[in-house]
């Protein structure tokens, strides 16, 4: 797969422009010299002034960086999007059904469709969640599905992020910046709006409030604080949906109910959109050394007095090893074939597969089962022989700790770089909200690998973002 030319989102093999990109292409050709350079520096200034930053742990340049933004949007045709969003909806419904089952009767395990050990001995499985009834039966309310494209009709899901998927604020700010930078281009394209996301997020959160919360439930966004890498996003979302932005010490539990400390005394909290990992939520139930969470929070949750979004224990459904079973999961709960492909994944605990992997490692991608943010992974074709050797050793030592996949030829999108406009690899993270219904924002966050040839798009690894346009018919 690595040898063939990657799919170009803008140009056909014969050099002609693909239909959804016609207006953009014409606009690009009309731009005078230096116009893009100017736009690019304007964009940088806008983002810095707004303080749209993410923290880079251990970075020498200080704790905050502006994520690079590319001024050339990525465009998705209406019919392409319809197909994608159907596949996404199917996936999130099945995953929520799976979570319900895993924390109740465990029928999928009894039926032998997934090995019991993989779930029950998994660090992401939360036994504390057994038998609990979340509002509307929803566990994962806010989901970011990572998707890559390798051909005109070929999409693969790389990962389902069901814990605390980040980046939605970039999606919104990228749109805002693009509207400021190239209003004339918007006039020529019918772009579906993404600005409804915060309102939809609020509706979703309200729809899963505990009974008795009333017409207008109190919603809090729980953040680890200003030093967290995604703090900008936490404050942005709280602001946009009119929720309180809380840190652990702002909340307390009394009589099994959660309260905020306000200027007028305690105020009841109904729904918490928490951006703190399971382990840190409640020192009484999870990690006792954690200062980030709220003592007693989990008991209040168990008592049904507060809704936690996403529910604790959802991580079991986006575990990299469970990922390989998602097509099974879809069939088991929905009785349907998966609409979106999984990337073929090799199981290193199987001797035959492991030997093949070790022999072909230079062509493969190796990911740590519990790694994220581009850490703990190796992309074979762009890694050194020493790296190959290192990962061979790692796999031999702990075969169950790694999943291995072929290197996908991620599609490319024209991108502004020093030398001008050049194709760079992209992926896509659409954002899904699940409450009383499923709401998918048209588009999502396109991440782009700014280094030539690189397939790693994570912001922590030098990736940037692009505005993503879904065209309306």
């Amino acid at each position: 797969m690595a040898e063939t030319a990657p799919f170009d989102e803008m140009y056909n093999a014969d050099g002609s422009v693909r239909e959804p990109y016609r207006a953009l292409n014409a606009w690009l050709e009309e731009q005078p010299d230096k116009a893009l350079t100017l736009m690019q520096s304007d964009a940088e200034a806008i983002f810095r002034k707004l303080g749209i930053t993410f923290a880079v742990y251990g970075s020498e340049e200080g704790t905050e960086k502006v994520i690079p933004f590319d001024v050339i949007p990525r465009i998705i045709a209406a019919q392409e999007w319809r197909k994608l969003s159907k596949g996404i909806e199917q996936r999130v419904k099945a995953l929520n059904a799976f979570l319900y089952d895993i924390y109740h009767r465990q029928e999928i395990l009894k039926a032998g469709r997934i090995p019991e050990k993989l779930i029950l001995q998994n660090a992401a499985f939360a036994p504390e969640m057994m038998g609990l009834e979340p509002a509307k039966g929803v566990y994962a309310h806010i989901i970011g599905v990572d998707i890559v494209r390798v051909g005109p009709d070929e999409f693969y899901v790389l990962e389902d992020n069901l814990r605390t998927p980040s980046g939605v604020s970039y999606m919104l700010e990228d749109r805002e910046a693009m509207m400021q930078l190239a209003p004339d281009l918007f006039h020529r394209c019918k772009v579906a709006p993404v600005e409804t996301y915060p309102e939809n997020l609020r509706r979703t959160l309200e729809s899963v409030a505990p009974g008795g919360a009333g017409q207008s439930p109190n919603i809090a966004v729980l953040t680890p604080g200003i030093y967290n890498s995604a703090y900008f996003e936490h404050s942005f979302l709280a602001d946009q949906m009119g929720a309180q932005l809380c840190e652990g010490p702002d909340l307390f539990v009394d009589g099994g109910k959660v309260y905020m400390r306000t200027t007028t005394g305690p105020e009841r909290v109904d729904v918490i959109y928490r951006r703190i990992d399971d382990d840190y939520l409640d020192p009484l139930t999870f990690r006792p050394d954690s200062m980030l969470g709220v003592p007693g929070l989990f008991n209040a949750y168990r008592a049904g007095n507060v809704t936690l979004v996403n529910a604790p224990g959802t991580g079991i459904a986006d575990d990299k090893a469970v990922y390989t079973y998602v097509p099974e999961i879809i069939e088991f709960y929905l009785g349907e074939k998966a609409l979106l492909n999984n990337v073929p994944t090799y199981n290193c605990t199987d001797e035959e597969q492991r030997n093949w992997v070790l022999a072909n490692i230079a062509d493969l991608v190796v990911k740590e089962v519990h790694g994220s943010g581009g850490y703990g992974m190796m992309v074979g074709p762009t890694s050194s022989k020493a790296m190959h050797a290192e990962f061979r050793k790692k796999i031999e030592a702990r075969p169950d700790n790694y999943i291995v996949q072929p290197t996908l030829a991620l599609s490319t999108c024209p991108t502004y770089v020093n030398a001008g406009v050049a194709p760079r690899h992209v992926d896509l993270r659409p954002y899904v909200l699940v409450g009383d219904r499923v709401r998918i924002t048209p588009g999502g966050l396109t991440r782009v690998a700014l280094k030539k040839g690189s397939l790693v798009v994570n912001s922590s690894q030098g990736g940037g973002t692009k505005d993503t346009w879904v065209l309306e018919d």
Binding site: L50, G51, S235, Q244, L245, T262, T263, E267
Partner: protein, 315 residues
Amino acid sequence: MMLGRTAQNLFWLSRYVERAENMARLLEVGYRMSLTSRREGGSSEHLMSMMQAAEVDEAFAAKHKTADVDTVAHFMMFDPDNSSSVYSCLQAARTNARSVRTAITTDMWESMNGAWLEYAQIKPRDVRGAKLLGLLQWVKQRSHEFRGALLGTILRDDGFAFLQAGNFVERADNTARILDMKYYVLLPRATLVGGDLDIQQWTLILRAASAHRSYRHVYHDRYKAQNITDFLILRPEMPRSLNFCARFVQQNLDLLADFYGRKQECQEAASQLLAMVEDTSMDKIFSHGLHEFLTEFIARNNRVTDTLSDSYNFY
């Protein structure tokens, strides 16, 4: 509804912006005094008295042996170990603003964030000598800009009252300290009260409060110690006078009480502060002792902060 922590951060956000501005004003006075000093060693003495007024003299002495202009300017402007340096104030203000982004407007945030980002870029060695006054001016301007954004954009609710209370508690504290500086600057034995040097020092104090022009509008007179202290303590129309600040603090605490529908202990503390500058005269203050009066005022002002923190669940 507002988190106690949010109220606290708003209060301190505007305090730190105001403090950054006043540190710049104080340094300007110390700097100008040192330039016009006619005595051997006078320069160092003036700078030390300025730092005494700002209550950073001990922290300075712990780090530096002698107080020359460059060392003091660096300490007051850029030293992160000095919690009152302009650097520390802007950083603290920006951290507070970041914590309460949901409670302030975009204009306020951009003003604060922009000021911090620009300031953090400045290389201390580039602003020695003549450039220093320009930078002090810049600090004042950015503080004005922030206050302008605040007044022009924020809702007139409890958040506004916490911001304003912080602003004027800090300004009252600073004006009191600027005045007190005169106490620390001892006149040489041969010079009489009311002599040239005495008047020159009072003039610089007026300047520190940006009040040397407006003084003329009120008094149509030469600079006189009696008038200058009257101007900075009792005059209700002078926006940096103790009277004006105390009144504003009181008004904003009343606003909070109205907003929340209940009286609080901090209102009483604010009334006591205001009473100090309402029911008195300059004759009384001078006979009691200016320094003693100012010390008492600063203490009562601190009590306003303490009781405010209790009344509205700062933690």
